[in-house]
Amino acid sequence: MSGMASGSMIHMDWQSTAEGETILQNFYNPHSSGRKLFGLLEKPSIPINIEEVSYKLFFVGKSGIGKSLTIARFAGINSPASYFETAGIQKINILWPVKIWEKIILFKLQCWDVGENSLKKYSHILPSCKNRADGIVFVFSFMDRATFTELIPSINKMTKDDPSHPAVTVIGTRYNPAINMEVSLAEARELELKLRTPVLKMGVVSPGERHEVHKVAPLLNIICEQLWIRDQEYLLKQGLSS
């Protein structure tokens, strides 16, 4: 968990600049309005000198909370019109270009998504997801108070005894400040201070939404920055101890 303020390293609105838009052009899917999903051996056609860094993120949260939908929105792909519980592990690699200081870096976020049912029934799934995870993303719903109160115990359970100290990210789904939400903004703020990490807010998708990429860009940038800071702190520690 970082003590640094978000937005201090990563250019939060770089994707909307001319340079960012030009790079992002190579990420869109010509057959849909969204972005492309890249296979394990594929890369967008971007300058080869752009460095790539890869991270594993494990998404945790109650069944039906919107984990799969959140990942699909981050990836910019179409998600099924109706809700289906995720069967087993579904992993989506999201390629996301980010500008850190003066350098463009391609983040490969490997998002591990598991249906709650498979997780409970099969013992091999949790270790497979947690092993070597760089970050754990805890998902709750602004419209379901119980999922919010379970956050802290869940975070403690997942990160305790984990020698790799994964970065902790919290995302609240069904965020809609226009209505009376079960979890208030003040409570979310309190949690942010306690965890020293921002609570990312995911609104409800309106169909046919344009500029979706610019809606999720700030969230993805924050996640990338957290992972980047975690690496820097790790390197710093290594440097001090050697």
Binding site: L37, L40, L41, F84, A87, I89, Q110, N117, S118
Partner: protein, 395 residues
């Protein structure tokens, strides 16, 4: 438009209700009545199998004395709805295992567990729904979709070495939703298992890789396997049915190693979509599309664009599917060999179709309406001979 309801047989407790197309989901009270009339029959030693209204057929099926399925559909016959119910039940076995369905201890828990199967059930409903002409729907119930790529032996050799590399007898490669090649073990699986596995494998634009626990309804209904797959390039899915190892991370590494050098070959296959048959295979100029079925192995190939440029009919694969469900299906399922038809045709305003059967193989061709009706039979028969003899494709 089709709908399936699932209830416990003993208690009549509803487990789920899924529908596809423009159909009103059955209300709780109509579900209860439909189940009630079936139960009433049972208490009088009568088995209610099906009924029909003006535009709808309803079929009741009971499984393992524990699960009742009620299927209702528009434009579908009893046979198809009965097959659909069987396929839905097999899907439930695939996700939760037979034991949990035989002995329902906790209805609430079973209801939750069954939710994992909904995405696959959706695909089954889509496969029989003829009223859905919106999407590129080209699936047939109970048949694994395959494609006929060029150089099948070369691709086969790569699948065989992949099978060794990942230490699984059951491997295949899916390209744009159709099976392009599979290990011999994959073909030795029961056709029911093979078909459902092909539905559970996610499409390459839905996830990068996946690891799904599955029971095999015929081969292994009590012990689960892991259905692991990944996408090296968009449109291509590498699959293996695994035991405890390798884990998903190792699986990806193995797949990258094994397929890195073969990407060009796979991309060539992907470029065949939606023709789905090697370019070297030339059809008669009047042919617009084809549907090829092997009833023994439970596989089928379909294409609505063999001619490439001309598109005189709107939705070729939709016509072929309708032709199959309304005519050819009876020809295939007829058990009595002497009563089995071998040929059947349709003539419509804008197109004609002809189907010919040779033992377990059925070829349906879609023609433009200009073709003389008497010529279709010869073209169809010759094309079937050509397909079975052509060495550059393998059927």
């Amino acid at each position: 438009m089709v709908s399936v309801m699932c209830l416990t047989t003993t208690g009549g407790m509803p487990l789920f209700n899924r529908s596809h197309g423009n159909i009103d989901t059955f209300s709780f009270s109509s579900m209860a009545s439909l189940n009630g009339v079936h139960m009433y029959g049972k208490s009088h030693n009568m088995l209610l199998k099906s009924t029909a209204t003006e535009d709808m057929t309803i079929v009741w099926r009971e499984f393992e004395n524990s699960i009742t399925l009620i299927a209702a559909g528009v434009t579908l016959d009893e046979q198809t709805l009965s097959e659909l119910s069987q396929a839905v039940f097999n899907t439930l076995v695939m996700f939760v295992g037979i034991e949990e369905l035989r002995n329902v201890k906790n209805v609430e828990r079973l209801r939750k567990d069954l939710r994992m199967s909904f995405a696959t059930i959706e695909k089954l409903l889509q496969a029989v729904d003829l009223t859905d002409t919106t999407g590129p729907n080209s699936s047939l119930l109970n048949y694994t979709a395959v494609m006929l790529p060029p150089d099948p032996e070369l691709l086969q050799s790569y699948v065989d070495s992949w099978s060794e590399c990942v230490a699984s007898m059951f491997c295949c490669v899916i390209i744009e939703g159709s099976l392009a090649a599979a290990s011999s073990g994959w073909w030795q699986l029961d056709r029911v298992d093979r078909y459902l596995l092909s539905l559970v494998i996610p499409s390459s634009d839905a996830s990068t890789s996946s690891d799904v626990p599955v029971f095999l309804p015929v081969k292994s209904p009590t012990v689960p396997f892991r259905l692991v797959s990944c996408t090296p390039m968009q449109g291509i899915r590498i699959v293996a049915l695994c035991g405890p190892v390798p884990d998903l991370y190792q699986f990806e590494q193995l797949a990258i190693q094994a397929w890195k050098s073969v990407i060009d070959l796979l991309n060539d296959c992907a470029a065949l979509y939606p023709r789905n048959i090697a370019l070297s295979f030339v059809f008669h100029e009047s042919v617009l599309g084809f549907l090829l079925i092997d009833d023994m192995l439970g596989k089928m190939a379909i294409s609505g664009s063999v001619s490439g440029h001309r598109k005189p009919v709107k939705c070729p694969s939709h016509i072929l599917r309708s032709f199959y469900y309304q005519c050819v299906h009876d020809m295939v399922v007829e058990k009595d060999e002497t009563a089995k038809q071998t040929e059947i045709y349709w003539c419509a305003e804008h197109y004609k179709t002809f189907a010919v059967r040779d033992q377990d193989t059925v070829l349906c061709l879609l023609f433009s309406s200009v073709v003389p009706t008497h010529a279709m039979r010869l073209i169809c028969k010759e094309t079937l001979v050509q397909i079975s003899q052509d060495k550059s494709i393998s059927w």
